[in-house]
Amino acid sequence: MFFYYLDLAWRSIKKTPLLSLLMVLAISIGIGITITSLNIYQMANINPAGERSSQLYEVRLMSQGLDSWDEINPQITYQDSFNLRKSSIATRQSPMFRTGMAVQTDDDNFVPILEGARVADSDFFGLFSVEFLYGNSWGKQVDIDPAYQVVIREDLNKEVFGGENSVGRTIYLNQKPYQIVGVIKYWNPSPKYYDVNNGAFNDAERMFVPFSLAPIEEFESWGNNQSWKREDIVTYADRLASETHWNQYWVELNTPEQVKEYRLWLSNYIEQQKLIGRFEMPEAKADLSDVATWLKVNNVVPEDNKVLVGLSVLFLIVCLVNMLGLLLAKFLKRAPEVGVRRAIGASRAQIFAQHMVEVGVIGFFGGVIGLLWAWGSLSILSAHFKLEEALTQLGMSMWVLAPGVAIASALIAGLYPAWRICSTNPSVHLKSQ
């Protein structure tokens, strides 16, 4: 029966090509606009940590003094980073910040390039499930006894060493020789959740150097440096001992007990720091945010995006109302024909089903064409605005969502017209023939 209705639907669509085209156009444009804005929203809203999201926590500490910042700051000080490393409760943990150096090789013809680098502990790679192509992270020992070792990303390895296994070779960072201990596979989480200071959709660093080297090599901070009090910072040692917030700190806690234990440790730490005159605020506290919370804390999804999604959903509703009106017009015009079908034995349910199938077909076409609209507008937007690719890729879910939403909304819009047509009295229409 379904295929018979499909056949009927197709005939009916062909009979009024202009009206059908209008309906498909309306619903496809509505779907196109909605999918476009939903896609940008969803891509910004993605949680790149996946199932690890609830096990990774960013640590925040309310270390500021009285009459300064009101709220807990997203970053922490170097001295707190240094102290937090002493706890062994977390499964993995790493302080970190962004820096950059000039890269040179043994090859004299190699033009130096300036590269961003992440300063972190060896746990960084385990924390964020970064996979290695060659070699491995520097050893845990290096986190305590600094060594000139570096991990680079696959694409940098290609640029500098032509893509061969470069483990054991030397590159020069700001003219100091570093030994390559590992090459990671291409890894560029979007949003760059482990540090959103330089923009949540910026590229991840392509080099990683030990945190323990920071006091020796005096790595400059390429991120935000936030101060709540005026301090004379002249040397790097001043900066390390200062109250400036410029580090991020991530821990991995796998069980609720572990979280509880770590929270307790943190509050003890704050009490202890209060004794030496830091953490002056009476409500000084520590805060742990898992990845999902962290993205919310940092407002990774811009407000404009939300406004767009809201408006485009309203837009889709307009398209549906538009379609509803046209459907009603079309179906009622066909009332005499339906009257005949009813008179020769079709039940109301059958008439209803027949018309719903027709609506579904229109919805399906609308969805498919809408997907094309969305794909087109996303490519135009990404080309014109040089948007991050991460935001303009049509997500896999959209390929299913678009026709699904189109058919579903078309069916909802079709309910009333189909009900109207199947509930009319056949005799009325038969008489006027």
Binding site: L19, A26, T36, P112, E220, V321, G325, K333, L381, F385
Partner: protein, 404 residues
């Protein structure tokens, strides 16, 4: 004359079609009014003058990674090299680039005594030399530029002269002349800066800041860190040519540095306003498509009504109605729906605008937008109705007598 009574009774007789149209118009007005309001707000943001000759200025950075380099001496050698290149009109070292989204800013203190000292508003700080004004292409409207002999070098705390933007001068001193005033970097009395000139317009780096138009130029060639930024003004379109020349010349002087980040101010502008432009573009797309769909829907409904009422129209024509009467019947019918929908839609729009304002940081919807939308919709209705209605008017009176 306008036969409003029979039209209303027709509408009441057959409710669902007109009701749907009404709903569609209400929603359209609400969306279009708010969207065009946001579009206009963004377009206005983007059309603010930066004061610069944007298509002639570009910036780049030099990263001196060799240990033991005297940055001040290095910068002044680099400056000479850059100024010696053909095609360079003017250039300077700079602490920041206008419209780039990053840079230096601070508040200053001013006043007659420590007790009456006040905070001047936040302003972007351009540290540079006597060629800064010419490089940016900003217009001096009072006082004078720095003399070459007045330029300090090295640390920012050696600055003692200032050129301020007019916006900054007005906010700080009102109608008093700015030239000759003194401001202090830090508290009152700390590092006095004498204002010697005023430029008409000079924007800072942060386009979403309310202090965008406040800017100060201070007389220091910086030599503080391994990073140094240069601003260059060249003939338009010469950047692509100058870039390799600059890199080669500076590398010849000293190989151990990275020279990078060549960007035109026009590119900075595009990047820094990107989100606003994106929002305006997507919303414009939405408004145009929405109006298209609404008018097509309207035309579709009228066409359908004509087909359904063929006999009635024929009868009316047979009874003496003129073609004009038929057209005006359809027009008035749709005007009634459109205006009713428009008024309700305008109320919904204001409500929606209020919601948007309270949840998001959007300004309050101005009333002119819903009103303009309704007017636009009336025009659209006329266009969408008049074509099918003309067709209806052509229905021959003879139709009425047929098939009855």
């Amino acid at each position: 004359m306008l036969q409003i009574k029979p039209i209303i009774s027709t509408l009441r007789h057959n409710k669902s079609g007109p009701l749907l149209l009404l709903l569609q118009i209400i929603l359209s007005v609400a969306i279009v009014a708010n969207a065009s309001f946001i579009i206009n707000e963004r377009v206005q943001l983007m059309s603010r003058e930066s004061g610069l000759v944007e298509d002639e200025v570009f910036d780049f950075t030099v990263y001196n990674f060799e240990e033991g380099v005297d940055y001040t001496a290095q910068n002044s050698r680099d400056m000479d090299i850059i100024r010696g290149l053909a095609g360079v009109k003017a250039s300077t070292t700079s602490s920041m680039t206008p419209l780039s989204g990053g840079g230096w800013s601070s508040t200053f203190t001013y006043g007659q005594s420590e007790e009456t000292a006040k905070d001047a508003p936040q302003a972007a700080i351009y540290y540079g030399d006597e060629q800064m004004v010419e490089t940016l292409g900003v217009e001096m409207i009072a006082g004078r530029n720095f003399y070459q002999s007045e330029i300090e070098s090295g640390h920012p705390n050696t600055a003692n002269l200032a050129i301020v933007s007019q916006a900054f001068a007005t906010v700080t001193w009102g109608d008093e002349p700015a030239v000759g005033q003194t401001i202090y970097a830090g508290g009152y009395g700390e590092q006095a800066l004498k204002v010697i000139g005023v430029v008409k317009t000079l924007q800072g780096a942060w386009v979403n800041s309310s202090h965008l138009d406040n800017a100060i130029i201070l007389n220091v060639e910086l030599g503080l860190t391994s990073f140094n930024r240069f601003l260059v003004r060249a003939e338009p379109g010469l950047m692509t040519e100058l870039k390799p020349q600059i890199i080669a010349a500076l590398h010849k002087e000293n190989k151990n540095r990275v020279i990078d980040g060549f960007t035109m101010i026009t590119e900075h502008r595009k990047r820094v306003y990107r989100d606003h432009e994106l929002m305006a573009t997507v919303l414009s797309m939405m408004v145009i498509l929405l109006l298209l769909i609404t008018s097509l829907g309207l035309a579709g409904m009228v066409m359908f009504n004509i087909e359904r009422r063929t006999k009635q129209i024929g009868t009316r024509r047979a009874l003496g109605a003129k073609k004009r009467d038929i057209v005006s019947f359809f027009l008035v019918e749709n005007y009634i729906i459109c205006l009713t929908g428009g008024v309700i839609g305008a109320l919904v729009a204001v409500q929606l605008g209020r919601q948007l304002m309270s949840v998001y940081s959007l300004p309050q919807l101005e009333l002119i937008y819903p009103i303009a939308t309704v007017v636009g919709l009336v025009v659209l209705t006329t266009v969408a109705v008049i074509l099918p209605a003309r067709k209806a008017a052509k229905i021959s009176p003879a139709i009425a007598t047929r098939s009855v």
